[in-house]
Symmetry: none
Subunit: 411 residues, 2 copies
Amino acid sequence: MKAEIVSVGTEILLGEITDTNASFLAGQLPPLGIDLYWVSQVGDNQARIVEVLKRAWGRSDIILITGGLGPTEDDLTREAIAEMVGEEMRVDPALLSKIEERFARRGIKMSPSNVKQATVIPSATAIPNPRGTAPGWWVEKDGHIIIAMPGPPAEMLNMWHTETLPRLQQRTGGAIIFSRTIKLFGLGESVVGEMVSSLFSSSNPTLGIYAKSDGIHLRFTAKARDQKAAEVMLAQSEVKAREILGEYIWGVDDDTLDSVVGRLLVGKGVSLAVMESTTGGMLTATITEALQSVKYFKGGLVANSAEALTAYGVDTNLISDYGVVSAEVAQAMAEAARRQLRADVAIGITGVVGPDEVESKTVGTTYIGLDNGQEKKTIRGVYPAGDRSRLKRWTTNAALFELRKMLLELT
Amino acid sequence: MKAEIVSVGTEILLGEITDTNASFLAGQLPPLGIDLYWVSQVGDNQARIVEVLKRAWGRSDIILITGGLGPTEDDLTREAIAEMVGEEMRVDPALLSKIEERFARRGIKMSPSNVKQATVIPSATAIPNPRGTAPGWWVEKDGHIIIAMPGPPAEMLNMWHTETLPRLQQRTGGAIIFSRTIKLFGLGESVVGEMVSSLFSSSNPTLGIYAKSDGIHLRFTAKARDQKAAEVMLAQSEVKAREILGEYIWGVDDDTLDSVVGRLLVGKGVSLAVMESTTGGMLTATITEALQSVKYFKGGLVANSAEALTAYGVDTNLISDYGVVSAEVAQAMAEAARRQLRADVAIGITGVVGPDEVESKTVGTTYIGLDNGQEKKTIRGVYPAGDRSRLKRWTTNAALFELRKMLLELT
């Protein structure tokens, strides 16, 4: 089956947003055995959208559209599809009452313009959108499928996983492609590339290396007649990768550092607290991303000044003796967080986030203190200066990676 | 002048990379007065590239191509351009010796496949690429311009700024385009659309409405003979927008809620502290994004349990009398944060982030308490359940928006 992706929105053509929907959808199609030959972006102009859709209709079996399903006058995807297939739009009363309910629940008055989000055409069925007011359209006509989804990535992603993908999977069959991603922290991309160079020669599974915000990802992709055969091939590749890189690997596939750490904390019945300065709340915010965090995370104390450290129970003498940016203060922060919030394990983070040096320590210097009541550990790192938010992200990841190691050793 | 962008590369169609070149180039065209109507991505297949180029040739004055200029067999952009314009590729000796020099300088043996990077056609001149081995092509024929640049963003960006953009600026003249973005919080996209419907009829400046994570953005785009004329037009539109939506507007252009609040805090010499539960550290992490935050932000206390609230100085009697999710506790959190961290103003946030109800309050219920020592204020909101991270983002924005209002009133 041949697919084509069309992204609708003048904001894409003005360069105001990058079309991440297209690359996400593109990555979803190979495992379904669907070939993608064409991707295009078009503005909020009905004639041009219709022109693009007509061409897609002529050469592709499946057209995936995102964007243009909003309530305003410049949202024209529905109108363009209706014009292309030559059908009349009409309001679906059941759909309308769902949208009305949504507004009522929020205590907001529904605007008349939202009524157009309740329209369909005879060839279309609505795809539910629990994250927004715009339902999608699933259109089938003359052997073609058109799938229209909302532009906001969160709404589109949710609709894709819960509604669109399952329906598409029923239609496809044949050879399948499966992938396994192995996630590492603490090594650079080129070093990893050299370490696993022997695995690059394989044509099935293939290997790709990607630098991501949470470290390096190795992605193995296997082509096989069924899922079981693919999984055997991927497992063999994973064994080889683990032999080479074992200690740096912290997760696979959808794992995130916060979910991996969260599982260990739940499994060992251990509670966690945090005191952070350089990361400014990013470590705490990352830990609380995990739905389960309420079970093990007590809280986070974010200090933006030495004064706040003192208010949080860090000994002022330590600060004056060793400086705010020191292994001693990182340890004292972890200990104070553990004590204040009655947690089993705690992390303390201090460092120099820039733009200026602190206490003659260069920008990027970071101390991560870990304390589990019996054992204490301090990691010192110097991350290259230049990008505040990358430094904060790196420090947050390093703290979670080191916490994972400590938790694995905990009996 | 009408432009079209074509991005070449099978890795885009496989979803392995996101086409950020297209969005970058799209954003560069409006100030040049060049209209962009078409963007498409195509794989490393000569027939399909030629087909896309032919269509672009038929409807656009300028075709901007990125990718497909590498040395390997699947790099086919030069071949496709040559086929489309019906010209023969030949090696340019001067270009070849430049590429050979580059390899010699790096002490690497040049591969025979790199020779094709030294080719041109009669209508093409090479565009130097100081960052890589692939020169670009500037093709002029029959009133059309084709500009081919390398795919790696660092090479493309450098070539754009140092070579392509200056040449294009010589060609354009005449009309220029400027934009102004007005940022709102607290109203939905469709309501804003209706309120400013009278402004939609203008064809210059035009108006676009966008739902973003920090609220609704109104973008006015003016076409004029020079910057001054454009700015007058945009200022007139802004006046109208402010008359209609004044109290909801918190910023313009590159403003972020944290930077707007930060400027007010610095200007008024007021310090800030935060105690948050549902937002799990996101408010604190957002405030510390601002480089200046060290001047006014004392710290953030993140509670993931009632126990932590008590440890942070919130009265346990209040919690048992009114519940964790209550206006009273939100106020007590603000007050405790202010006291503990000796801040002038503080925010307290409590609510139900889900997945389950708390104290019979539905998921999405949020209380934001503000306390500036003299005045206290509580805002209650109910955000639709379903998406944890959006709820957290909305609450974070609402807190900063309300803080801004309180700071504006502060004398």
